[in-house]
């Protein structure tokens, strides 16, 4: 079941971009759009957008990098362990959950470590894998997307994103317990 689904999605993923890159220019040409000239005109903005993001990304990544390097994450994980114990949240997986909104590569590192120690097919391994895919890296997305249009006042974007991360991780715990037991 899982494998069939995966094959279908993978086929769509492989075809999606070539199909877009074929049909958009061809259909536009039929509609008498000067495809080359318009492409260049649109592409001009690429540099500007990328450069605009830099200050926002520096601010966020530096703060998160320092936070990770300080060892604060482990201290916090130990601090909340009694609470997570109550709901049957495996203590080993707390750092992965805390890292998820802050850093994608950081989470991947932790999850890989967990699977190496406990095995990819252990409950911890499956749960950690699910945590990794449960949400995107909230702070990275916020910095890049708002940075690109120079928005500094993000209003409720941060709390909405963090609550969603929390729910995503709780949903991961729930569904893993139901599907894999443990």
């Amino acid at each position: 079941m899982g494998e069939i689904f995966r094959n279908v999605i993978q086929t769509v993923s492989i075809w999606a971009i070539p199909v877009l890159l074929f049909f958009i220019p061809v259909l536009a040409f039929v509609k008498k759009v000067k495809v080359y000239e318009e492409f260049v005109e649109g592409a001009k903005e690429g540099f500007q957008v990328a450069v605009t993001i830099i200050p926002y990304l520096v601010a966020i990544l530096v703060a998160i990098g320092m936070f990770r390097a300080s060892g604060a994450m482990d201290a916090f994980a130990r601090f909340i362990a009694p609470v997570t114990d109550l709901i049957g949240f495996p203590a080993e997986a707390i750092p992965a959950a805390l890292m998820r909104p802050l850093s994608g590569s950081g989470t991947l590192g932790i999850v890989t470590e967990l699977m190496k120690t406990h095995g990819p097919d252990s409950f911890i391994g499956r749960f950690a894998s699910t945590i990794y895919g449960s949400t995107e890296t909230t702070f990275y997305v916020l910095a890049v997307y708002f940075g690109a249009v120079n928005i500094k006042k993000t209003r409720h974007a941060v709390p909405a994103g963090l609550i969603a991360d929390f729910v995503g991780i709780m949903a991961a715990l729930f569904i893993c317990k139901v599907v894999f037991g443990g």
Partner: protein, 217 residues
Amino acid sequence: MLNYVWLFLMVVALVVGAINGRLQEVTEAAFKYAGVAVDIAIGLIGIMAMWLGIMRIAEKAGMVRLLARAIRPITTRLFPDVPPEHPAMGAMILNIAANWLGLSNAATPLGLKAMEELQKLNPRKDTATDAMVVFLGLNTGSITLIPATILAVRVQLGSTAPWEIIGTTIFASTCATITAVTMAKLMQRWPMFRLPPAEEASEEGSTLDKPEKTQEE
């Protein structure tokens, strides 16, 4: 909000770093990630330019508008402030589709294009609009149909059934996405997040969407 989070991360990093005797590492991380940020942004230039070029062609040919029209019943509910056939709608849909399929090289450029279009409708250029926060919710939650990266790691570590986590990932990420959008919608009315009353706002904002709106109503 980001003011507090940012300050919190910095202060905690330095205080805990000092306690743990890791100040050296903390300082090194600061310089390292300042460089990483620039690398990421510079790395975006090429694919960003490519997708913006393709999007411009699609727009000129009227395809973005066509796409926006096709999914209108959903988008008008999610983004009531955005005119239904505005180019922002088309860009947002393509971004979300790319995200769900795990095409991250396409998703970010298309998402930034969508933000640019949403910004055109924004009367206060330094403040997020309701539509932007909902759109970001769809991106930070982000339904994952194929968690390609983690599947590769699982295969590498000798998992006997690497795909087992696809179903649980879809469930968890769908819950996260629904929550993100619901929270965005709920919180936009809270006093602390509410937009200040539009003053000079209306002129700039409405000239853009007026022609479309009058057609509608």
